[in-house]
């Protein structure tokens, strides 16, 4: 599993997005999960919740820190990953697969194009 899968787009706040037809899936990157340490809790958004690009939609907690989860695009939440209630650590094990956080319907799909590519994001993590 690549640390920076190139079929995804990334935000400067370490979220990833995958396009799946009309919807998108999002989570946090392997880099972010590694920086945070063992994830112990995710405050998930609710289905139907309106989200705005770069605004907090939830929270992610590790043993040593709490961080905002920021919306990669604007839109409406459709499904959240309920497994994260019982097993938040899956984000550390499989951040791009089983560790997905939520699905949403974008209100402005054009925003996707301005997100970072895998290469650009990887470069940013090296500077950071």
């Amino acid at each position: 599993m690549a640390d920076f899968p190139d079929d995804l787009r990334y935000t400067t706040s370490d979220e990833w997005v995958r396009l799946e037809g009309d919807e998108m899936v999002s989570g946090i990157t392997a880099y972010a999960a590694e920086q945070l340490g063992d994830i112990v809790y995710v405050k998930l958004p609710e289905a139907g919740q309106q989200i705005e690009q770069s605004e907090p939609y939830g929270e992610i907690e590790s043993v040593k820190a709490v961080s905002d989860l920021k919306a990669p695009l604007s839109g409406e939440v459709t499904v959240v990953n309920a497994d994260l209630d019982q097993n938040p650590a899956v984000i550390n094990d499989d951040p791009y697969g089983q560790g997905w956080i939520f699905r949403f319907r974008p209100s402005n799909p054009g925003q996707y194009d301005s997100l970072l590519t895998a290469e650009a994001y990887e470069a940013k993590t090296k500077e950071g």
């Binding site: 809790y41 907690e61 590790s62 043993v63 820190a65 709490v66």
Partner: protein, 445 residues
């Protein structure tokens, strides 16, 4: 250095101190240890020592018997000087105490999770309200007239500073759930009710909880934890959060503090609880151990996003309470609460029979009740004090319209003799007060 920080002279560093206080203060010469002791003893002698004297004052702090084992354990230097248990490997004693304390509080309140304690009930009420505000997203807190005025004042200050609203529902001795329900609207995040209340009356908690929930608000129950040994616990009557002052559990009156802030909540609110929480776990070798947990709630990690600035507890007071509760146990605690209630009811019956005195209401009570007095309560208290009896709580201090109402509290330390003496002293009050008033008006000692 002065140049580097841009200050012209050393004197300018003291510019905040008023002119008349700068320079040498007129402090007298040092006293010897013996002289100092005599000075301090003379000052202390101006107080009336509570020890051995009959007292009937409650309203939030109560004089109970403290078994010798309590100070014997809290005085041990391992406990007395211990700091915060951030390093669990060094602090299992402290952490085990917290865990046992939390377990007992959860059981007593009938709720799922308790924290390691707060400073006092006033900030406890405030924190419970913060939980309600965060959980509902609403901005008004509803309180009632029967809430301890000190708790209400602290809450008012806090809400005002944070830009939230306070809805104060007036109360006449005991609440009417329908009236309360009518006062709640969808701006209310939480309803705070104390039971037994300031007047001593037991409130209709289940109905009030329902009223709060119907309005979409949380129900916050404030109580004297000793009363929970014989009353329905907050968790059983629908409370989302329970708070109270743990002073009755092995903590002396201490001129107002330190006391013990108790807070507990149902499971879904665990992550909103302020302050320290201890959890049980296993170490690398599978042995049971205790650690501080859910620390990411607290401000030293969450910083400006923390729900509270509190990241500490009243460890020594919590230890005292834990030892006290262990000594009394599941059987002793209800026995004690019952004994206090029996004494209060005996006193109520006898006082109500004194001409000029009457119970303020017929609402059920535990160890405290309010009497209407023939002369202002403050005068009754002065009259009692001249006979070295400490009276009750003068409700005139809360509301001038209630100046003829006195709240009296009874504990296991009030012997029957003391209660009978109180009654006969009150019986003598009316004619005597008139005489004494004439005497002091005429300047006769």
């Amino acid at each position: 250095m002065l140049r580097a920080i841009g200050v012209p002279s050393v004197e300018d560093l003291f510019a905040n101190i008023p002119e008349h206080l700068r320079g040498t203060l007129p402090i007298p010469d040092a006293l010897s240890e013996m002289e100092t002791l005599q000075l301090v003893q003379a000052l202390a002698a101006e107080n009336l020592n509570l020890a051995g004297r009959p007292a009937f004052l409650g309203a939030g702090a109560y004089r109970h018997y403290i078994p010798a084992a309590v100070p014997a354990i809290t005085g041990r230097s391992e406990f007395y000087t211990a700091y915060t248990p951030y390093q669990p490997e060094l602090s299992q004693g402290t952490l085990q105490v917290i865990y046992e304390y939390q377990s007992m509080i959860a059981e007593l309140t009938g709720l799922d999770v308790a924290n390691a304690s707060l400073y006092d009930a006033a900030t406890g009420v405030t924190e419970a309200c913060t939980i309600a505000i965060n959980a509902t997203g609403r901005s008004t807190i509803a309180t009632v007239g029967g809430l301890n005025p000190q708790y209400a004042r602290v809450l008012r200050t806090y809400l005002h500073q944070e830009g939230f609203n306070l809805l104060e529902i007036p109360e006449e001795w005991v609440l009417d759930p329908e009236q309360v329900a009518a006062a709640l609207d969808e701006s209310v995040a939480g309803l705070v009710v104390q039971s037994p209340n300031l007047f001593g009356s037991i409130e209709p908690m289940a109905d009030l909880a329902a009223a709060a929930h119907d309005a979409g608000a949380l129900f916050i129950a404030v109580s004297n934890p000793l009363s929970l040994a014989i009353l329905a616990p907050p968790g059983d009557v629908g409370a989302d959060v329970a708070v109270g002052c743990g002073q009755p559990f092995g903590i002396p009156l201490q001129y107002g503090g330190p006391y013990l802030g108790i807070i507990a909540a149902r499971a879904g609110l665990a992550r909103q609880l302020p302050g320290r929480i201890c959890g049980a776990t296993v170490d690398g070798e599978g042995r049971r151990g205790y650690v501080l947990t859910l620390q990411a709630r607290e401000q030293h990690i969450r910083r400006e996003k923390a729900t509270s600035n509190i990241c500490t507890n009243h460890q020594l007071m919590a230890l005292a309470a834990t030892v006290y509760l262990s000594l009394l146990g599941k059987q002793g605690l209800p026995e004690l609460a019952t004994l206090c209630a029996q004494k209060a009811h005996y006193a109520a019956r006898r006082i109500a029979a004194i001409p000029g005195f009457a119970l303020a209401s017929d609402a059920p009570f535990v160890n405290e009740f309010t009497v209407r007095t023939p002369v202002p309560a403050a005068e009754v208290n002065r009259y009692l004090l001249r006979r070295e009896i400490i009276g009750g709580f003068d409700l005139g201090r809360v509301d001038p319209a209630l100046q003829n109402y006195l709240v009296l509290a009874f504990t296991e330390l009030n012997t029957r003799q003391q209660i009978d003496d109180l009654v006969s002293t009150l019986e003598s009050l009316q004619p005597e007060v008139a005489v004494e008033a004439l005497q002091s008006a005429g300047g006769v000692a």
